[in-house]
Structure formats: structure tokens, C-alpha cells
């Protein structure tokens, strides 16, 4: 079964069609990349999937269920988590709280329970703390648990975004330029990490990236957008050699370099 099926979505901003008739089938457990020139509509595509924007046309299905019309928090609860192109952490809160917040929807404590300090609530809270810290350990962020998020180095902040996304227990993880601002070495580590979390947590991953090394290494399937429209789709090999993609996006050097 496909984890995600996007059929014919379109989004227009005023006169500008940012996403135009895009179809995509994402196989469960796969890593799919969406690439394309700047302004091609990749981020907008993610925003459509996560409910930040509503599509003007088309349908989006998560494991067969249509998620069009849902609010972002509802989409998240159904199992889609994301990171942002421009990091959006809760910058003034500690790292641990950043992760705990992502568990909000899975916890159930209500005001009466909290005020009365019910056993169930206390237990739930301990569990949440445990899981949050475990996730931080998992990503090597445990030493930062009490740090204020804004004081972390850039690359670390990106990793924290991933932890936060994982904490929502997603089925589908959307990563928007996870390697931006990372050194080649960090990018390599990131590649490994994506592989690992996909296996450990049984995830399906869709990512946007301009770092071709990362994209070609990691993805099984690539969708290329230009001016909102899909111009190519296929395996890394096919995409790398697609003249349209080379012209619009990769450039000569990338071909020779990669």
C-alpha cells in the first residue's frame, strides 16, 4: 500500500500558480525526494500536505484516507510530521520542552486531572519525559536537554527539529532541506541518520533538498518540479541523466561533479 497519494493538487497565490497538477505516489517505507529550482513550489507542496495551505484542487490521501480540509494539528495527529525550511523551534524554551510539546496530542491529561494530580496524569508525564529524553539520547542531543533552543548551533537545531518531528510518532516524515547550512561531513552524518530513523521507526520519508549528493544517495524515487509542475519523476539514475532536469536544475557541473 502507498503511504501517501497525492493526485492532481494545485495551489494558486493571486496570479501565481505555485503548485500545478502534481501527482505523487509514495511507497510505504521508501525515501522520496522532491527537487526543483528555487521557487518551484516544493515547500508549498509540503504545506499542502500538512494542512498549512488548502489545495485549490486535487486530493491528498494518507494510507488511503483523504486529509484535505484538515487543520495542521489534525494532520499531525494522523501521522504526518515535518521540519521547516527556516528552522521553527520554540526558540526560548528548553530543548526538552520542545520535544515534550510535540507529544501534546498523544497525551491526554485534562485540567481536572492535572489539578488533582491524578496517578494516571503523573504516570503519563513521567512516560513522556522518559521518551523525550530517550529521543534526545537517540539523536545525541541529550547533553543539551536543559539548554534554551535558540542557543544551540545551527546544525544542532536542525537535528532538534527532527527529534521534535519524531516525537509526534509520525508514519510519514517530511523534511524540508534538512542539510541546508551543513558541512559535507555533517551532511554525511545526516544521511546515515535518515536511513536509521526510517528503519528504527518504520517511517516513510519525503524530503526536499538541494544537496544532490544527499538526494542521489538516499532516495529511491525523485520528483522534480519546475514552476509548480512536475517535469520528471523516477529513480536517481533516470533523473541525473534527464536533460530537462539538467537544464532547469542540476547544471553542468553537478553532472560532472557527482
Amino acid at each position: 500500500m502507498n503511504a501517501l497519494e497525492v493526485s492532481g493538487v494545485r495551489k494558486q497565490f493571486g496570479g501565481l500558480v505555485a503548485v500545478d497538477d502534481v501527482h505523487l505516489q509514495v511507497r510505504k517505507g521508501s525515501v522520496t525526494a522532491v527537487i526543483g529550482p528555487n521557487g518551484a513550489g516544493k515547500t508549498t507542496f509540503f504545506n499542502l500536505i500538512t494542512g498549512v495551505y488548502q489545495p485549490d484542487q486535487g486530493d491528498i490521501r494518507l494510507e488511503g484516507r483523504s486529509i484535505v480540509g484538515l487543520r495542521p494539528d489534525q494532520v499531525t495527529m494522523l501521522g504526518i510530521a515535518r521540519t521547516f525550511q527556516n528552522i521553527r523551534l520554540f526558540a526560548d524554551l528548553p530543548v526538552l520542552d520542545n520535544v515534550l510539546i510535540a507529544m501534546h496530542g498523544r497525551l491526554s491529561a485534562g485540567i481536572p486531572g492535572i489539578l488533582l494530580g491524578r496517578r494516571k496524569v503523573r504516570h503519563e508525564e513521567r512516560q513522556a519525559l522518559g521518551e523525550a529524553y530517550w529521543l534526545l539520547e537517540y539523536m545525541g542531543l541529550a547533553p543539551y536537554a536543559n539548554e534554551i533552543a535558540r542557543n544551540l548551533p545551527y546544525g544542532t537545531q536542525r537535528r532538534l527539529e527532527m527529534v521534535r518531528a519524531l516525537a509526534t510518532h509520525p508514519k510519514l516524515l517530511l523534511l524540508d532541506e534538512p542539510a541546508a547550512g551543513m558541512s559535507p561531513r555533517e551532511t554525511r552524518e545526516l544521511t546515515e541518520m535518515i536511513h536509521r530513523i526510517r528503519e528504527d521507526f518504520d517511517l516513510t520519508v519525503v524530503l526536499i533538498e538541494h544537496d544532490m549528493k544527499l538526494v542521489m544517495n538516499i532516495s529511491e524515487h525523485i520528483l522534480v518540479l519546475d514552476y509548480g509542475r512536475p517535469i520528471a519523476e523516477g529513480t536517481p539514475e533516470e533523473i541525473r541523466n534527464n536533460p530537462r532536469v539538467i537544464e532547469a536544475y542540476l547544471g553542468r557541473a553537478a553532472v560532472s561533479g557527482a
Binding site: V52, R71, P72, D73, Q74, T76, M77, A81, R82, F84, R88, L89, F90, A91, D92, L93, P94, L96, D97, L100, I101, A102, H104, G105, R106, A109, I111, I114, L115, G117, V121, E125, R126, Q127, A128, L129, G130, E131, Y133, W134, E137, Y138, M139, G140, A142, P143, A145, N146, I148, R164, A167, T168, H169, E189, E192, R196, E199, D200, F201, D202
Partner: protein, 462 residues
């Protein structure tokens, strides 16, 4: 010399030493309040002991009990020897009322980041709830002569005021939360004014609030047969309610809901993406904040025995906001101190100061032209104090601190969690897998170590 200083400093850092010193200070100021004059100075010194208490390194529980003893026993008992007893109790009662309201507003502004300039409306709702039904006012629109309700029902009216305010918090929130940031400020300001104007005019077509004339002869509440009429009685009532409010805010702050408020404050879009429902979270903040205010409104009406709309002007909303910001947004001790300080300034220190200047003037020590008579300078002085505070203490008096978790305890919880779930949230993944994965983790000893322990523990559980 220098060494002596450092030794002193390390000694001062020891909780035991701190406790002894603080106890000495507290006893001294309490004794001063009881036996020496002028009482106001000692009263302030005794209150200051609570501030010192906050800065000691004593364990949390000890601090709470200590503070409880000071405010519930020491302060009233020592003040009761002087003639100003009830006056202090009145001031302290009003302080308590404002502290509770400031704590409520802090939930809305400090935690959830929603600027509310009409907060006093909820206070008004609570106050009118009591005043209307515990005077003969309700007879004007409810047939039969059922009112005033028996004063023993006062304690029932407390939750009623709380609920009414919370309900209005939600009703207001529903439409209003569509707007953001400073637009919200003006909309809530408008709401506050609307409520006040309506209360000011609801004497026709049906006389519900008695309009601008206000509702007088409000029954004094009765509590287990004791009629409350003196400030010290209200002081204990307010103290008890305040303890409840503080408890509730503390609990909520570090819960799922408190975290959601802060998430919304920091970044709405990210909060939503993390599964936090925006509207519901904000509504809860509004309702919780409003409910404290409504609760205190009931007490206020009972204490004043008279209510009219002039007590609920926008200036009041702003005053409460000043308390929150001045104290330190989002910081409970800060808000408490801010509310106490502003109330003290307003109703105790400023009048005392101007009275003192006045005495000097009448005694001919200093001369003011009549236009500059000191009794008219309250606002000016208050204004200057606000500016100075803002400029020199921009984070608030006690800025909010983030709660630090002990990493060791966290690691233990994490281990427990792993033991229970197998270290992943997908069913069917082998624990060994998780362990393997972490061994490859980019960083680290800590992780591998924790993991190792988990493995052992897991073996045990299995």
C-alpha cells in the same frame, strides 16, 4: 581579606546558614512590627523576608511552608498588636486579590502570549454575580422576593463567579482569537469597555445592574456561621483562595497544557505542526485566566458591599498588565511580587508618602505652590517609577526561569521508557535493532551508556 570574603560567600551559599539568617531576619522584622514603630516600615520589611526566602537555596517544600507560616500566622499576629492592624489587613487583602488576578492574566499574556487589555471585565463579571444575587437587586428582574440570597450561600457563589467568568472567557475567545497580536489587544480592550458600558447601562429596559448608581447594601458573606466583615477575615479568605490559585497555576504551567500555551506563544505555526490545536489551547488559557479573576470578583464585591462600574475601567486592566510585565512575564514569583509592589505603591506607599510630605508642608518645613501640592503627585511619581523600572529592569523584577531537569533522573526515566516500549514506537521492531542503531549514533558515549543500562534492565524485565 579576599579569602575571607570568598569563605563568607561559600558559607552563605549553604542552605542551613541561609535558613538561620533568614529566620533571624524574619523574627526581627516580625518583632519590629509587633512592638516598634513605625509599623509600615516593619510591615514592608517582613514582606521582604518572603522575597529573600525566594532567593535562598532551601528545598521547595520548605519554602512553601515557611512562606505559609509568615503570611498566615506571623504577619497577622504581629500586626494585630498595633492600631493599624485592620488597615494592613485591608492592604494585604487587596494585594491578594490583585495577585490572583495578575496570576490569571499571566496565564493569558505570560504563558499563552495573548495580549489582553480588557481583563478587568472578568473581575466585573464575578463581582456582579455576587452583588446582584446577594442584594435585593435581583428582585428587579426575577419575580418574587427571593433576594438577597442567604449569606451562607457565599461559598457556592465562589465557584459560580469562577464559572461565569470562565464561560465568558470562552465566549469572548471564540470570535476574538481569530485576530492576532496587537489586534487582539484592541479587541479585548473593546470587549472590556463593552462589558463596562453594558453594566453601566443595564438599568433599562430591565434593571439588572442598577446602572451607574451601582448596587449597594450587598450582604456580608457568612462562612460557617461567621459573618465576614473585617479586613482580617477577608484576608484569610483571600489567602486561602490565593493558595488554591497558586497551586493551580503551578500545576498547569508544567503540564501538557502549560507547555501547549508556551508553544503557541513561541510559534503558532510550529505549534500546530506539532499537533497543538491553536484555538482550543488559547480558549483554555482565556478561560483559566478569566476564572481566577471572576473568583476574586466575588470576594471583592463581598468585601466592598457596594459595586459600581467605576471599579472596572480600562485603567484597571492596564494596572494588572503593569503588574504582570513589571514582575516578569511568565514568572510566577515575578508576577506575585509585581502585583504586591504595584498594589502597595498604589494604596499604601503613595498615600503615606504624600501624607508625609503634606505634614511637612503644613508644618512649614517645605513649601509647595498649591498647583504642586504633593497630594496631587501620585500619578507623576507612579509614572516615574514605571519608567525607571522598565528601563533598568527590562526583564521584569524576577524574570522567568526555565525549569531544569536533572539529567540523571531523566536518563532513568528514559531507561524505564525503553524497557516498557522496547525503545521504539512502532510495534514489531526488535529491541536489538534499537540498541544497534544507537551504537552508531553520532555522539555518543552518553547515549551508548544509557543504552547499555537499558539493555540490562530489559533483560531483567523479560
Amino acid at each position: 581579606m579576599k579569602q575571607g570574603m570568598t569563605r563568607l560567600r561559600t558559607r552563605l551559599r549553604r542552605p542551613r546558614t541561609q535558613a538561620v539568617l533568614l529566620a533571624a531576619y524574619t523574627v526581627l522584622s516580625a518583632a519590629g512590627l509587633a512592638f516598634a514603630g513605625p509599623p509600615i516600615v516593619w510591615f514592608l520589611l517582613l514582606l521582604a523576608s518572603l522575597l529573600l526566602l525566594y532567593y535562598t537555596d532551601l528545598p521547595g517544600a520548605v519554602k512553601w511552608v515557611w512562606a505559609g507560616v509568615v503570611v498566615a500566622v506571623l504577619l497577622p499576629v504581629c500586626a494585630s498588636t498595633g492600631s493599624s492592624f485592620e488597615s494592613f489587613m485591608e492592604v494585604a487583602t487587596q494585594m491578594g486579590i490583585y495577585v490572583a488576578m495578575a496570576l490569571g492574566l499571566n496565564v493569558v499574556v505570560g504563558f499563552a502570549g495573548l495580549l489582553d487589555l480588557g481583563f478587568i471585565a472578568f473581575f466585573a463579571l464575578g463581582a456582579y454575580t455576587y452583588a446582584i444575587f446577594f442584594s435585593d437587586q435581583a428582585n428587579h428582574f426575577i419575580p418574587g422576593h427571593h433576594f438577597p440570597l442567604p449569606a451562607d450561600l457565599f461559598w457556592l457563589c465562589l465557584p459560580a463567579g469562577l464559572l461565569v467568568a470562565a464561560l465568558f472567557g470562552v465566549l469572548l475567545g471564540l470570535p476574538v482569537l481569530r485576530v492576532k497580536g496587537d489586534y487582539l489587544a484592541i479587541v479585548t480592550l473593546g470587549f472590556g469597555e463593552i462589558i463596562r458600558i453594558i453594566f453601566n447601562n443595564l438599568d433599562k429596559p430591565v434593571n439588572i445592574t442598577n446602572g451607574a448608581i451601582g448596587i449597594s447594601s450587598v450582604e456580608a458573606p457568612r462562612f460557617f456561621g461567621v459573618s465576614l466583615s473585617f479586613p482580617h477575615q477577608f484576608y484569610y479568605l483571600v489567602l486561602a483562595l490565593l493558595a488554591l490559585v497558586l497551586y493551580a497555576v503551578r500545576r498547569l504551567e508544567h503540564s501538557r497544557i502549560g507547555r501547549a500555551w508556551k508553544a503557541v506563544r513561541e510559534d503558532e505555526i510550529a505549534a500546530q505542526a506539532m499537533g497543538v490545536p491553536l484555538t482550543r489551547t488559547k480558549l483554555v488559557a482565556f478561560a483559566v485566566g478569566a476564572s481566577f479573576s471572576g473568583l476574586m470578583g466575588v470576594v471583592f464585591a463581598a468585601k466592598q458591599a457596594f459595586i459600581d462600574p467605576t471599579s472596572f475601567t480600562m485603567l484597571e486592566s492596564i494596572t494588572i498588565l503593569v503588574m504582570v510585565i513589571l514582575g516578569g512575564m511568565g514568572s510566577l514569583p515575578g508576577v506575585v511580587v509585581g502585583a504586591c509592589l504595584v498594589t502597595l505603591l498604589n494604596i499604601q506607599l503613595m498615600p503615606e508618602l504624600t501624607n508625609w510630605l503634606n505634614t511637612l508642608t503644613t508644618a512649614g518645613v517645605i513649601q509647595f505652590p498649591s498647583a504642586l501640592s504633593p497630594s496631587k503627585m501620585q500619578r507623576l511619581i507612579f509614572g516615574i517609577i514605571l519608567i525607571l523600572f522598565a528601563v533598568f529592569r527590562p526583564q521584569g523584577m524576577i524574570p522567568s526561569k526555565t525549569r531544569r531537569h536533572d539529567p540523571a533522573a531523566l536518563a532513568k526515566l528514559a531507561a524505564e521508557w525503553q524497557a516498557q516500549t522496547g525503545g521504539t514506537f512502532r510495534a514489531g521492531v526488535r529491541p536489538a535493532d534499537g540498541q544497534d542503531a544507537t551504537a552508531r549514533a553520532p555522539g555518543h558515549g552518553a547515549v551508548t551508556r544509557a543504552q547499555g543500562q537499558d539493555g540490562a534492565k530489559e533483560g531483567a524485565t523479560l
